[in-house]
Amino acid sequence: MTPFIDALLLQAGYNAALVAIGAGLLGFAAGASGTFMFLRKRALVSDAVAHATLPGVGLAFIIMVALGGDGRNLAGLLLGSAVSAWLGVLIIEWVVRRTRLAEDAAIGAVLGVFFGIGIVLLTVIQTMSAGRQAGLESFLLGSTAGMLFQDAVVIAIGGSLAVFVTWLLRRPMTLVAFDSDYAAAMGYDVRRVDLLIMGLVLAITVTGLKLVGLVLIVAMLIIPPVAARFWTERASRVIWISGAIGGASAYIGAALSASAAGLPTGPIIVLTAAAIFVISMLFAPVRGVLAAVIRHRRFQARVHRRQGLLALAAAHPIREGYTLRLLAREGLVRPDGEPTESGRAQAAKIARDERRWDIAREVHQDAGLTGRYDGLTPIEEVFTADEIGEFDRRLGPPTPVGAV
């Protein structure tokens, strides 16, 4: 455990500290900038963007070698990857706009075809004399541990820019993600906002490509926003929570990876993010699965209890086993379905509320109130005590169950 804590506290050497800080920055930027791609329900465009960088990398290498330069010049390779990924984005957009194909088909086609072209170019490079040690394969899986100081600086600058733009333009992006038709009606250029969202993802992809590789940068763009969504209902908060989750998983992942041999940084970061996702999905207070299951079971019990009491009040037999068990457990019916004393009392109360509602709906012929007449909302929640008193006055004295 100590090596891990050392790494967490940046005490595990210069290189490990650099990797942890750089990865943390990248994770934060990716999480924040990926938010709107997810909210726009286009998370997998990130995947297409990442795969579409490959032909650009290959082509840039070939061109730089052909011009007599060093094919491994990082700036040139990144420029190439940005250009081809942007071309991929434009093609996706063009196919969806101009043909009957749906977005998912366009995304998948661009992803597969661009990657295919990239592989063709990589095999071309392998046959070039300069290509033997090109090392372009690291673009596939990344080489986080080999991070240099200048890489961390590039990430810090590029990442902050992307986060800043995300924050600056969060309102139009939220509008477009929530309801693009409404955004268009308000005068926003939906197409340009969409391109901006994709541009942000592209910027992060290009920044992080060399370090974590193209498959794993996708994870950093998708997993944190999805996890963050479980914790809040507000888009502006998703940005920051997602950034925090991305940053934390990258930082912790990098520290974990530095603490033992044979733990490659990229995958560990992704798996840390995945773990945070699982925790969020299961245990988040409102949207989490556990909370939802408990809520649903409670709701179902409430419905069945109420329906059972309504049936008792009307002297109908209760046929559904679950309803019967539920009422029996509360001592409201005997196992044969006959109501007990307290069952009769509860049923009488429910029957009375039902009759109160009848009066209420007669008195207040108002769509807002009738909408609350859903069988579950207690009448006390909708009307004041004196209003209910007035209903009771009209109803007359209570009648025992069975005498209806």
Partner: protein, 311 residues
């Protein structure tokens, strides 16, 4: 087109064709159900699948690896479905979470395992190795009639042919259910047709096709084969039956032209070495798709600018 062709090109081309068709057939329904990206998810989890299979069996053998990959695909599909329903997350994001995590787990396990003396190669899984599937002992076309020579055909050929035939047969048998569950799921359920089971079966068929094909053409190019031929076919016709036939044509043509361009194309530019055949197959399928996007008779949605002609 003699001995050399039979030795070095015939089997890769056939394997390419069978792989492309096996993927394109389920792809037709996936694109109509807006589930094209499930192929992306499946093809990424092939790597963790084979790594786990290697860990469990300790050997690099075809059958355990295929089973491992298929198992991983099933696990991925179930996880995606669970996240979609339980977490109320849109399908694309659910897929993204699952396949990137599983891929990362695969890479991690690979690094943890001592695989120095065996050959599990991430690049190989991603890019495939179609060119190596040659029929070295063939001596020309007459070898096709020689049982001894036929026995030395690469295993991948028979495997891919069987998978392709099985998927085709399953599609024919379940044609009506597939069609109705894709077009109108509610009506299918009202008829008592197991629409969700059909949807799951379709994804399983896609997983089988992907797993069988990845070894030859690589897991990423598989995505192109799932999507490009059916998507191009959709723009050629307004009948599902014709769309499937067109997708088979595009898949076959992508495989043949892809292999030919990869093997012989560089020579036309006086380069000596061939380029990746699998990559070229994906490239050619993309060219077909672009051409149909530009000129396909039924490229536009009704109500869009260019109207379709009456059928």
């Amino acid at each position: 087109m003699g001995t050399e062709f039979v030795q070095f090109s015939l089997t890769p081309i056939l394997i390419g064709i069978f792989s492309a068709i096996a993927c394109a057939l389920p792809g037709n329904f996936l694109i109509l159900r807006r589930q094209a990206m499930i192929s992306d998810a499946i093809s990424h989890v092939v790597l963790p699948g084979i790594v786990v299979a290697f860990l469990l069996t300790g050997v690099i053998a075809t059958i355990p690896m295929l089973l491992g990959a298929a198992g991983a695909a099933v696990v991925a599909v179930i996880l995606i479905e669970a996240i979609k329903r339980l977490g109320n997350i849109e399908p694309g994001a659910a897929m993204g979470v699952v396949f990137t995590s599983m891929f990362a787990a695969g890479v991690l396990v690979l690094e943890q395992t001592d695989t120095s003396n065996v050959h599990i190669d991430v690049q190989h899984a991603l890019m495939g190795n179609l060119e190596s599937l040659i029929w070295f002992r063939a001596e020309g076309w007459q070898s096709l009639l020689d049982p001894a020579k036929l026995a030395s055909l690469p295993d991948e050929l028979a495997r891919m042919a069987i998978v392709c035939a099985m998927i085709f047969a399953a599609m024919l048998v379940f044609w009506r259910w597939l069609k109705i569950a894709t077009f109108d799921e509610g009506f299918a359920q009202a008829l008592g047709i197991p629409a969700s089971a059909i949807g799951f079966g379709l994804v399983i068929a896609a997983a089988i096709a992907a797993v069988a094909a990845f070894d030859a053409v690589g897991s990423i190019v598989v995505i192109a084969m799932f999507i490009c031929p059916p998507a191009a076919a959709r723009l050629m016709t307004n009948r599902l039956e014709h769309q499937v036939i067109w997708s088979i044509i595009f898949a076959t043509a992508s495989a043949i032209f892809g292999y030919v361009f990869a093997g012989y194309g560089p020579m036309w530019f006086s380069a000596r070495n061939a380029v990746s055949a699998a990559g070229m197959m994906a490239t050619v399928s993309g060219v077909f798709l672009v051409l149909t996007c530009l000129f396909g008779p039924h490229r536009s949605r009704v109500g869009m600018k260019a109207q379709d002609d009456a059928v």
